[in-house]
Symmetry: C2
Subunit: 376 residues, 2 copies
């Protein structure tokens, strides 16, 4: 695994067992993480960034498998909205993932991979693992916790379940619960993976067998559509035809090749994903998202979740995001207001749908910088 250039590669093994929401206990849990910037002497300048479903800790440093820049390189770095000249930025691979933290591909006590013996985890379990990391790093209270999409769920869960641990909470393109439609899309992805004979009940790690790459690619394709907006896809691809391999202009082939650019793009998204992601991790992490319902965890009333919090909150949505639409963000804001929390809310206009939180949206940069207190 190549060493990222601008960050330390670090991994913590938790000394204490972690009791999960399911009641199961994980021993020797490992949390792989990256840090950027320096921790101040008073340990008060830490910003925890929580990653999304298929994200990882390579926030602002090259991905060791793909070699691509960090997924939030544009947001995190010296002089950037999350300014590493000022903040000690931490990003941990979530529990259940496949980039170094304990997940279904990890070895169980019997020396074989967990595979589907891995316990089903929750967003709160992911957060508990990160809080254990903060403990290990000696960080009692974060300057801020920040996350988009599933990262926003973690930020909300941290605020609700560990209210003393963050002074500020920034939630982007996210929700306090997974909607029926989003559960449905996840279920399609899971069924695509589990329908692939190469999944083999999850036991595909042994020997040189390939995993359920075809199923995982289909899952990624379906999910990828939900990350974009209809308008964005129309702008980017429309009904334009794919140029032929020989360089000639595209034409309908009256066959099943990728005639349309959007088909070719989706196929590429699906295939390239399988190089860097574990199918079982996809099952577990989507399940954790589907189980997420912060109100349910707190007596059925979302405001209760935030009753103990004295943090400042900022909630951001995007007008073209139909996966975590503004209505979901508003529910969070209403609950925070009802709980007496200090909260600001902004719906940003951006053409990229849910993916807007990852892309070039200067207004988001300004909101993030301003909320973290380095806007001036």
């Amino acid at each position: 695994m190549p060493s990222p250039s601008a960050a330390s590669v670090q991994r913590l093994t938790l000394a204490e067992p972690l009791t999960l929401d399911s009641g199961q206990v994980l021993n020797g849990l490992e949390v792989a993480y990256e840090t950027y910037g320096s921790l101040a002497a008073d340990r008060a300048n830490a910003v925890l960034v929580c990653h999304a479903l298929t994200g990882d800790q390579y926030l602002a440093s090259p991905h060791p498998i793909t070699g691509k820049p960090g997924w939030w390189q544009r947001m995190v770095g010296p002089g950037k909205p999350i300014d590493t000249d000022r903040f000690y930025v931490i990003c941990a691979n979530v529990l259940g993932s496949c980039m170094g933290s304990t997940g279904p591909a990890s070895m169980a006590a019997d020396g074989a991979p967990f595979a589907m013996r891995f316990p089903v985890i929750t967003i709160r379990d992911m957060v508990a693992a990160q809080v254990a990391l903060l403990d290990a790093l000696g960080i009692a209270r974060l300057h801020a916790v920040v996350g988009g999409s599933m990262g926003g769920m973690q930020a909300l869960s941290l605020a609700a379940n560990f209210p003393a641990r963050a002074a500020a909470v920034l939630v982007i393109a996210s929700a306090a619960r997974q909607s029926a439609q989003n559960i449905a899309f996840h279920e399609v992805g899971r069924q695509a993976i589990m329908a692939d004979p190469a999944w083999a009940g999850g036991a595909y790690y042994a020997g040189r067998k390939k995993g359920p790459e075809a199923g995982l690619a289909v899952a990624r394709m379906a999910a990828h559509i939900t990350y974009l907006s209809e308008e964005g896809m129309h702008e980017k691809f429309g009904r334009r035809l794919q140029a032929r391999p020989d360089g000639t202009a595209g034409a309908k082939t009256f066959g099943f090749d990728a005639d349309f650019q959007v088909e070719s793009y989706l196929r590429h998204q699906g295939l390239s994903f399988t190089d860097r992601f574990d199918a079982n991790s996809y099952l577990y992490i989507t399940r954790a998202m589907d189980y997420f319902d912060l109100a349910e965890e707190h007596g059925g009333r979302l405001a209760n979740a935030f009753a103990g919090s004295d943090a400042r909150f900022c909630v951001v949505s995007f007008d073209t995001d139909w996966l975590y639409p503004t209505a979901e963000a508003r529910s969070v804001v209403h609950a925070l207001s009802a709980a007496g929390a200090a909260v600001s809310f902004v719906e940003l206009s951006a053409p990229f749908g849910h993916d807007s939180f990852l892309l070039d949206v200067p207004a988001l940069d300004r909101v993030v910088a301003g909320f973290l207190g380095n806007g001036g």
Copy 2:
């Protein structure tokens, strides 16, 4: 195959070869169809109903495989909006499908199923087969052609390419072209089918082999989400848990069973679909829809498509339909207006998303009855 009760089972073998848009020629093409009501002496009371992607000719009579009522039973029958006491209603299984019309499961000249040797077809090819049926039935001009979703595409294509053949054209929840997002969803379905090893390059008909049922079920699940509205799914399922097989109340299992009702519903939709539909037909028909762009067929200007038409048009959309949203309907209406056609347009409010055209929407009944001229 059981005989439907209220309709004649009929099949026409075309005497003439059909030259397809691809340039390929199909000989001995068969068109399976159902009729309801009686053809008037002047042969002027025929209404052609065109079915959607996974529909069939069993419009108002039980489906011979599932035994379920016809898919538009609520709309077609004596005294109903498409009144079989007045109209001779025809519904033909589309070319490429699997309920009796020639498709990939049909025998080619060599006595083996076409499978993927079947030529790629277009919406216009489907319409040409139906016009040949009208010729055989001695129907020069339809009282009306009616269709929802892909049926609406056929109605528009008939109006554009065979303008003398229909006096009235009713297009519901449809569009004059397939959008990038819709192509993308179709491509996910096709990839799910083709990723299933049981697809075997389409050659799964021989012997007792099962087809790509797992892949087809995943395709159907993904498509089914697009047929509903987010609000409708929230109303119908929300985050409610599935009761356990033993009758006890639902609970999270911390596993990968269908904990949520929406998961169980989707799985059922996927599995039951494979009993009645051929996976290769799904490939060919989705491809035909993706290729559909009526403007492109007519010099890049949609109004040109309707220049030769003296038909009355009615275009209907549903406010919660995000698959064929109102904006697409408006484009059709604008083009018809630009072409000088008589057109009425209505956006109906209904909670069911794209599926609204199939479901209990009384306002749609009134629009259909009124437009066909039996509203009084």
